[in-house]
């Protein structure tokens, strides 16, 4: 904050304010790209997709496509003036259109341009494609057995002597856990509309979390320079990571067609094609060996994280990195070695998804706790507590960062009490002893999630703030709005800084023309980075205004105070509008570009050492479930959450992220199953077959609280903490509660080892297995 001004206490910050677009959402007037008025003669593009998992393309007969009604033309790899590549890792391994070979079922082959979307879509199916089939790899295990080809550099994190730790541990367990992937199921699918301009110019409206990368990709495929490309995004209908890189291809196709035909072009796949052709959360198989003792303390961990990366690198390198960064969850391992394998498979290239590998990393850690607890006949919560990071010792992570802000003990202690965990667990044990068919389970799981991009250079934000002569403010920043309320939070910060109401701050479309070289709105970092950058811009304008006001008041700058609606000195007050006009007339600049770089973070991937995270966000959840041991059907009956968002900028928005994140995580771990058939085609590719949670899946008792005592130890905006991703992982408590219910059929002496998603089938088969094993 500016040294000139004491903090302003207008009620725009640390208070509940509805999402700025709420009134527009409910009226159906919030505009998404498909709602925009198209320029005259807009063309529609549609992708033709591979119908093989792995094959050589022998030939394509386009004659029926060209003859179809409304068809304007066909766009193939040969029509790309620049590079046929949209690889976000810049490994040049992700063509827009397959050439020579297809690597997964659903890979784009070409695009059809037509007068209407319906015509383009119908025509795209008319090509006769001749394939020569090749053997294909579908799963992690198949990939490992075929030699384990990787799409990105693997990572190893190591601390302590793992061999010695395992050898000396009184007890050991080895096993593996299979963790399913997840489709984002953003309600607004991928979409882009491109409008050609003069010279090389092109403007693209893209549903993307990363406008600057779309800009780079469009320039790359057109063979032009970045300054000719403008990317705009007002809002997305959901992102969740699915629009961090997956929008690139669609934006590029629209831009290529727009420039080739000099007409505007829109592209929007059908839901089935969207789910077939775009990347998802990575499935993992984690092979582990854990040494521990009779007290439940872990001595050593050795684990390999195999991930279904798909056919190209995309973000699989950083995603599998982050899985390793969260292999500890909130637990201290005296000796640890974890390794990643981002494996090539003949499936769609998997990508970012809320948590970015972190959830898979943590789920394996919770599996180890489960193994130890059922081996020792203890409540898994005792094992968790026995292994939590300490506050001043036992606090170094596998990547050698010291955990300096640990609040997990307090979070868990408070939740254990407020949820009445112990009494409820006893009641459940009693219930299970006499209930023949229905069994219950309860579990408390912690979350510790590292905040910052592990690609250190991404930890920067930019903003452009204009103060106009009438005292109104236009706010531009590099972050994108996908529903999380980022724009609302940044506007709150700016309104608070100027001492004005929110109605004075106009939130603008995110545009690469306003703020350049932005980072993806991802890694939960949107508010931290862009809010701080916007505050930096506000500070500059305020400093100039304060200097000007000091002249007007004929006092020193230090005597000028910011107050509600303007500045004051003594009993003299001047409103912001009047001050802005006066400043303008005196040739004071009323615009400022703000910038922020996250301090302290550094990371050396080669040595596996550094401080990749600025701080950690913490939380814990207690879930209670019931299973039906005849069918495996199950229900989540009650959930209690205590989550740490530091000092909340907007409790309603934070609560929304926690509730929404938890339910999304619950879906990932229970009903959302990706299923490929024997030909390698994904068959769960629409809401009829891919089942995200419904309103009636929300736990009937759902108590969510913010840790109101928390404030970020680091100087993040308003001492708040990032909230986008961490709550997602609270849903691990559902898996562990289901595990307890399953374990009840064998008197809690056998670890259920449920793989995810824990569908009714997995519950029933788990029950059957434990009954069999208990019988001996």
């Amino acid at each position: 904050m500016n040294k000139h001004q004491p903090p302003i206490t207008l009620q725009t910050l640390h208070t509940t304010i509805p999402h700025d677009s709420g009134p527009k959402h409910v009226a159906g007037v919030a505009e998404y790209i498909d709602d925009m008025i198209e320029p005259a003669s807009t063309m529609h593009a549609y992708l033709a997709l591979s119908a093989r998992a792995h094959a050589e393309i022998v030939g394509i007969d386009f004659s029926a496509v060209r003859a179809a009604p409304g068809v304007i033309g066909i766009l193939t790899a040969e029509d790309i003036p620049g590079e046929n590549d949209v690889s976000p890792s810049h490994k040049h391994d992700e063509p827009i259109f397959a050439v020579g070979k297809v690597h997964f079922w659903g890979q784009p082959l070409f695009a059809v341009l037509a007068e209407t979307r319906g015509q383009a879509r119908r025509a795209a199916h008319l090509a006769k494609v001749e394939y020569k089939d090749l053997p294909f790899i579908n799963t992690v295990r198949e990939a490992q057995q075929a030699g384990g080809k990787l799409v990105a550099e693997p990572l190893k994190l190591e601390r302590g002597d793992v061999e010695a730790g395992l050898a000396a541990a009184p007890r050991k367990v080895a096993g593996h856990v299979e963790i399913g992937g997840q489709d984002h199921f953003y309600l607004e699918g991928q979409i882009a509309m491109a409008i050609p301009g003069e010279d090389e110019d092109v403007t693209v409206f893209s549903s993307t979390q990363h406008p600057s990368e779309v800009q780079l990709m469009v320039a790359q495929v057109l063979g032009i320079r970045h300054h000719a490309v403008t990317i705009n995004v007002r809002r997305m209908g959901g992102g969740f990571g699915g629009k961090e890189t997956q929008g690139n291809l669609f934006a590029c196709v629209a831009a290529l067609a727009a420039k080739k035909w000099n007409r505007a072009c829109k592209i929007r796949p059908d839901r089935d094609d969207d789910m077939t052709a775009t990347g998802k959360r990575h499935d993992f198989v984690v092979d582990y060996q854990v040494g521990y003792d009779e007290s439940g303390k872990i001595h050593a961990v050795d684990a390999v994280y195999g991930a279904r990366a798909g056919f190209s690198s995309d973000l699989s390198g950083p995603v599998t990195d982050r899985a390793l960064f969260h292999a500890d969850n909130a637990y201290w391992y005296p000796a640890v070695r974890v390794r990643s394998e981002p494996l090539y498979t003949n499936t769609v290239s998997n990508t970012a998804f809320r948590g970015f590998g972190g959830p898979q990393g943590m789920l394996a850690a919770e599996r180890w706790i489960e193994e130890i607890a059922y081996d020792l006949g203890r409540d898994p919560l005792e094992i968790r507590k026995a292994n939590f990071y300490g506050t001043d010792r036992n606090n170094v992570t596998p990547y050698h960062q010291t955990v300096e802000d640990n609040v997990i003990h307090r979070v868990v202690e408070e939740l254990e009490t407020s949820s009445d965990y112990q009494a409820r667990r006893r009641a459940i044990l009693d219930y299970n002893a006499t209930s023949p068919i229905l069994k219950r389970g309860i579990a408390l799981t912690p979350v510790k999630f590292g905040i910052s991009f592990t690609a250190t250079w991404y930890n920067q934000g930019g903003a452009l703030v204009h103060l106009y002569k009438d005292g109104t403010i236009q706010l531009n920043h590099g972050g994108t709005e996908m529903g999380q309320g980022l724009h609302t939070k940044v506007a709150q910060l700016v309104a608070d800084a100027f001492g004005v109401g929110l109605e004075t701050v106009k939130i603008m479309t995110t545009s690469t023309g306003k703020v350049a070289n932005t980072s993806a709105t991802a890694a939960s970092s949107g508010t931290d980075l862009n809010g701080a950058a916007a505050l930096d811009a506000a500070r500059q304008i305020k400093e100039r205004l304060a200097r000007h006001a000091a002249k007007l008041f004929d006092v020193s700058e230090s005597q000028v105070e910011w107050a509600q609606g303007g500045v004051r000195t003594g009993d003299k007050f001047i409103g912001l509008a009047e001050l802005a006009m006066s400043a303008y007339l005196n040739r004071v600049q009323l615009s400022a570009a703000g910038f922020y770089q996250t301090p302290k973070v550094h990371w050396d991937r080669a040595t596996g050492r550094g401080r990749p995270f600025y701080y950690y966000a913490y939380g814990a959840a207690v879930s209670e479930v019931t299973i039906d041991t005849l069918t495996g059907e199950n229900s989540v009956d009650r959930v209690d959450i205590l989550h740490d968002v530091g000092r909340s900028l907007n409790p309603a928005l934070d609560l929304g992220q926690i509730e929404g994140g938890f339910i999304q995580g619950m879906g990932w771990l229970t009903t959302e199953e990706l299923w490929w058939d024997s030909k390698g085609e994904l068959r769960t590719k629409a809401p009829s077959t891919y089942k995200i949670p419904l309103a009636s899946d929300v736990p009937p008792i759902f108590n969510v609280k913010l840790a109101e005592w928390s404030a970020n130890k680091e100087a993040a905006v308003g001492r708040s903490k990032a909230v986008g991703e961490p709550p997602f992982m609270l849903a691990m408590s559902v898996v562990e509660a289901l595990s307890m219910a399953v374990a009840s059929v064998a008197d809690y002496r056998i670890a259920p080892r449920l793989n995810t998603p824990v569908t009714p089938e997995r519950v029933l088969m788990g029950v059957e297995r434990l009954k069999r094993e208990a019988r001996g």
Partner: protein, 485 residues
């Protein structure tokens, strides 16, 4: 001869619409968004499963306009003759003041990305008009066909609980204008058949339908369009000419005759629910878990049977209840047992030009035990992994007199478990008999593994459902039950 008009006519919000050149496969959503530029209704899935396109369609029933929430993405414009279509654009007042349901959603933070929100608002609006202060159970049911990926639903449910405090339906324009609207709808439904080129036929009445279909046996019959809608939006099939029948009141009749109930083929799931659950309380759970509210408002009993799907949810219970199918071609009618209708995968006993007119279900004799179980990956709004129906009568000696068991999802058609039944009949109705019968399931069914479940799971669960049925008949049943405050 029936008089013929050449225009589909309906009311869109406050505007009367007359369409003379509409195509059979034009969906309401595409028409709203592309032709009318009403872009508040969103396309999330184009298969009726996500609800982002939810609108209300009002139709005259017993001299009142009944408004149902429907998914515009799979509703055809040709089916709208004589209706009042209400979209999200109609809710906000001319003065810009939000509707009570909208304001409740804003105040309770019910939107995040906002894309699904218009659909949620419309579903809540439909509920609010019938029940402004709904229970959580009623809200959940009304929202079964709406997917939200951001909020986790909790704030939307809170908005639903509070919406009655924001305003009451009596103050709503639809209520205030209902008499004028009724007049407009009556003027449209003038007793003429509608024909549009070679695309669309909207018969004047049931007899007219029979005549038209006999003369055009190649036509596609569309009642609720919950299946045919996907032929267009997903498979891009040509469906014209189409005969739309959803508007025919004669096909929406429910008759409670002596010892049986008769549902005409156009009765929607929603309309059937009260009568069905009165006579067959065991069907209530199935009915409430079948699809979402919008699809239950659209989909028909006749359609669920006629399309012959192996995973339709109505055939298994109707087969064990001994339902009879009434088929009609022109003036020729015949009656068959429902279970005989399903010949093979994709093949039914229905002749060209012949249609399902009604289904009659004999009431259950006193003392007979009957249950139906739907198993799905997600509890609600999911296609069944398997659906099993059981019916048994036990004689005075405690032996099984008759046994009827049928499953969907276990074979290429809905199918009786005759081998299991044979083991049960004549045996005492005790645990040991159940254990002995279980092996016979493998004779009756060789299910497949697919995206819903493995063959192994299907067979094991089918067996366990017989155990459940037995336990429930002897008072030892336990079932998951959702209990909300």
């Amino acid at each position: 001869m029936t008089e013929v008009s050449n225009a589909i006519r309906f009311i869109l919000n406050d505007e009367e619409i007359t369409l003379t050149d509409i195509k059979a496969d034009t969906t309401l959503l595409d028409w709203l968004r592309l032709e009318r530029r009403l872009r508040g209704s969103k396309e999330g899935c184009a298969e009726g499963d996500c609800g982002a396109c939810t609108v209300l369609v009002g139709r005259l029933m017993d001299d009142e306009i009944i408004y149902d929430s429907v998914t515009a993405c799979i509703r055809f414009v040709g089916s709208l003759h004589g209706t009042h279509v209400v979209t999200i654009e109609h809710l906000r007042g001319k003065d810009g003041i939000l509707h009570p349901v909208q304001q409740a959603m804003v105040d309770h933070h019910g939107s995040q990305c906002g894309f699904c929100t218009p659909g949620f608002v419309m579903s809540l609006y439909g509920l609010w008009m019938r029940n402004p202060e709904p229970s959580q159970t009623a809200i959940e049911k009304a929202l079964q066909g709406n997917l939200c990926r951001c909020t986790g639903y909790a704030p939307i449910i809170r908005a639903g609980k509070a919406m009655g405090t924001y305003g009451q339906p009596q103050a709503d324009p639809l209520w205030a204008e209902r008499i004028a609207l009724k007049g407009k709808i009556k003027a449209i439904t003038d007793g003429r058949r509608v024909e549009i080129s070679d695309q669309i036929i909207v018969p004047a009445n049931l007899d007219d339908f029979a005549r038209v279909y006999e003369a055009n046996p190649q036509a596609t019959i569309v009642a609720g369009s919950t299946d045919v809608g996907l032929w267009v939006t997903k498979f891009m099939r040509t469906i014209s000419p189409v005969i739309f029948i959803g508007h025919l009141p004669e096909l929406r009749r429910i008759a409670e005759n002596d010892g049986e109930v008769q549902f005409y083929a156009g009765v929607s799931y929603s309309e059937a629910l009260p009568t069905l659950t009165t006579h067959f309380p065991a069907m209530a759970e199935l009915w409430n878990r079948l699809a979402g509210e919008q699809i239950r408002n659209m989909g028909t009993i006749g359609g669920n049977i006629a399309n012959g799907s192996p995973i339709g949810d109505t055939p298994p219970p109707l087969i064990v209840l001994g339902a009879k199918l009434h088929l009609r071609r022109g003036e020729h009618r015949r009656e068959i047992k429902l279970e005989d209708y399903f010949l093979a995968y994709g093949k039914q006993d229905r002749q060209p030009g012949e249609f399902v007119e009604s289904v009659t279900i004999p009431l259950l004799p006193a003392g007979e035990k009957f249950a139906v179980y739907k198993i799905s990956k997600r509890r609600e709004e999911d296609i069944s992994t398997l659906c099993g129906a059981f019916r048994i009568s036990v004689d005075d000696a405690g032996n099984v007199d008759t046994a009827r068991i049928a499953f969907g999802g276990m074979a290429a058609t809905p199918k009786r478990a005759r081998a299991v039944e044979a083991v049960l009949v004549g045996q005492p109705w005790i645990q040991a008999t159940i254990e002995a019968a279980i092996a016979a399931f493998a004779e009756d069914y060789q299910p497949i593994s697919d995206m819903r479940a493995s063959a192994e799971y299907r067979l094991l669960t089918a067996q366990n459902l017989l155990k459940r049925f037995y336990l429930e008949t002897v008072g030892q049943g336990q079932r998951l039950k959702r209990e909300v405050a």
